[in-house]
């Protein structure tokens, strides 16, 4: 599993690997929002938590179809399925690799972009914490969606339609945590829900992903 993780990370940073894709998208959306809604600081402060979370979610969505489609195209997937790695382990590794190349950079870049949206100063720790807790769930749910659509040619649209409803709880609690933080209130409940969703995703979805892969490999 370490070998697969190392390979996926190496592929992500090589040319055409899509490492910067999500990050660049995140940056572009956040930079464009003030142009769209106008430079009024109070308006930006109010919508910043929601915009940051929606942009992070869409950025994570952008690179989902690469998770299994590339391995499917070059024939690596059946070879991995017949290797000693359990398919559940392959699924988990793919989810972790996606988070390391998408969720983690998004989380680290978010505070700098929050500044562009005039995010309330008290909200920064909540922004970092909620993204750190919530984006792993986005990666794992996305991995499951990618496994469901792996055999479908140009399945990007189907993948988005499948995955977006599953992303809604994470989005609601993530944005809520940042909003409560911005107002100086306790965000314990949405944080606990985010952590719960992530733990739930990592506990169950590797098995569902492996089952979906088995069906699609037939």
């Amino acid at each position: 599993m370490i070998a697969l993780l190392r390979r996926d990370l190496r592929l992500a940073v090589r040319a055409g690997g899509g490492f910067g894709l999500g990050l660049a998208f995140f940056l572009i959306v956040i930079v464009l929002v003030p142009f769209g809604v106008g430079p009024e600081a109070s308006v930006l402060t109010r919508i910043a938590p929601g915009i940051l979370w929606v942009a992070a979610l869409l950025a994570a969505l952008l690179s989902l179809d690469r998770i299994f489609a590339l391995d499917h195209e070059d024939g690596s997937l059946p070879l991995l399925a017949t290797s000693p790695l359990p398919l559940e382990g392959v699924a988990l590794t793919k989810g972790v690799a996606h988070w390391l190349t998408t969720g983690l950079p998004l989380t680290l870049a978010a505070p700098a972009l929050g500044f562009l949206l005039n995010l309330a100063p008290t909200a920064y720790p909540y922004l970092l914490a909620s993204l750190a807790l919530g984006t792993p769930a986005l990666s794992m749910i996305g991995t499951f969606g990618a496994a469901l659509t792996v055999g479908v040619r140009r399945g990007g649209l189907l993948l988005s339609l499948l995955v977006l409803p599953l992303y809604v709880p994470t989005l609601i609690f993530g944005a809520e945590a940042v909003r409560l933080g911005a107002e100086g209130l306790s965000a314990r409940v949405p944080m606990a829900m985010l952590a719960g969703i992530t733990l739930f995703a990592f506990a169950l979805l590797p098995f569902a992903t492996a089952a979906a892969l088995r069906v699609n490999l037939r």
């Binding site: 390979r7 592929l11 040319a15 070059d74 059946p78 991995l80 017949t82 290797s83 790695l85």
Partner: protein, 205 residues
């Protein structure tokens, strides 16, 4: 007994294509599958490798010893030749044997990105994978596609002198003569009829 196949029926897209296929291979033996295009060679090999379940019958082989090689080589074009082989060796918990590069004439290409290889060179890299994963039972689907005569002999030598000589087993679907001393099996007589046993439920409705 390394590999035993008993009376299996395999299907492609829910439609049975082969029925009643049986054979057994001892250590060091190979079997060459013959048959016209579309007769079910690939389906049979995928079933044997465990990528899809048979509709009926049983496949027995030592646990975690099967390896499958298809038309797609599983090569990452952004990685170098050595990185590609090291990855597959690593996944299978095997060391990367240094002589594998010589065996498949890849010595001069070690640090080349797989992107820049020709079709035949890529194929040799894909086949070299079989030499680094330490598996005893190989299921090879048209392994010699896009190889020149010299490379075909390299591959046949690898199969005979390294794989089979060390107690391995291979089932090979191919249209050319590899020069192996192996029995051939024509799959045409095993073609599944519409009423084949284990056929889809719709057949009974």
């Amino acid at each position: 007994m390394m590999l035993s196949v008993e009376n299996i029926t395999c299907a492609r897209g829910g439609v049975p294509v082969l029925a009643g296929v049986s054979f057994a291979l001892e250590a060091g033996q190979a079997l060459v599958l013959r048959g016209p295009n579309g007769c079910g060679k690939t389906t049979l090999l995928r079933t044997l490798a465990g990528l899809q379940p048979p509709l009926a019958g049983a496949v027995t082989l030592p646990e975690d010893q099967g390896a499958y090689a298809s038309h797609a080589d599983g090569i990452k074009t952004q990685l170098s030749v050595t990185e590609n082989l090291a990855f597959w060796a690593d996944v299978h918990g095997q060391p990367l044997p240094d002589d594998i590069f010589t065996t498949f004439d890849l010595d001069d290409l070690r640090d080349r990105a797989a992107d820049t290889l020709s079709a035949g060179q890529k194929r040799r890299l894909g086949l070299a994978r079989l030499g680094v994963i330490g598996r005893k039972v190989l299921f090879l689907d048209e392994p010699t596609v896009s190889l020149d005569g010299f490379s075909v002999r390299l591959f046949a030598d690898f199969l005979r002198d390294r794989h089979l000589a060390q107690g391995g087993v291979a089932v090979i679907a191919t249209h050319i003569d590899l020069g192996l001393d192996a029995p051939e099996m024509d799959l045409t007589p095993f073609r599944a009829g519409p009423d084949a046993s284990g056929g889809s439920d719709e057949a009974f409705l």
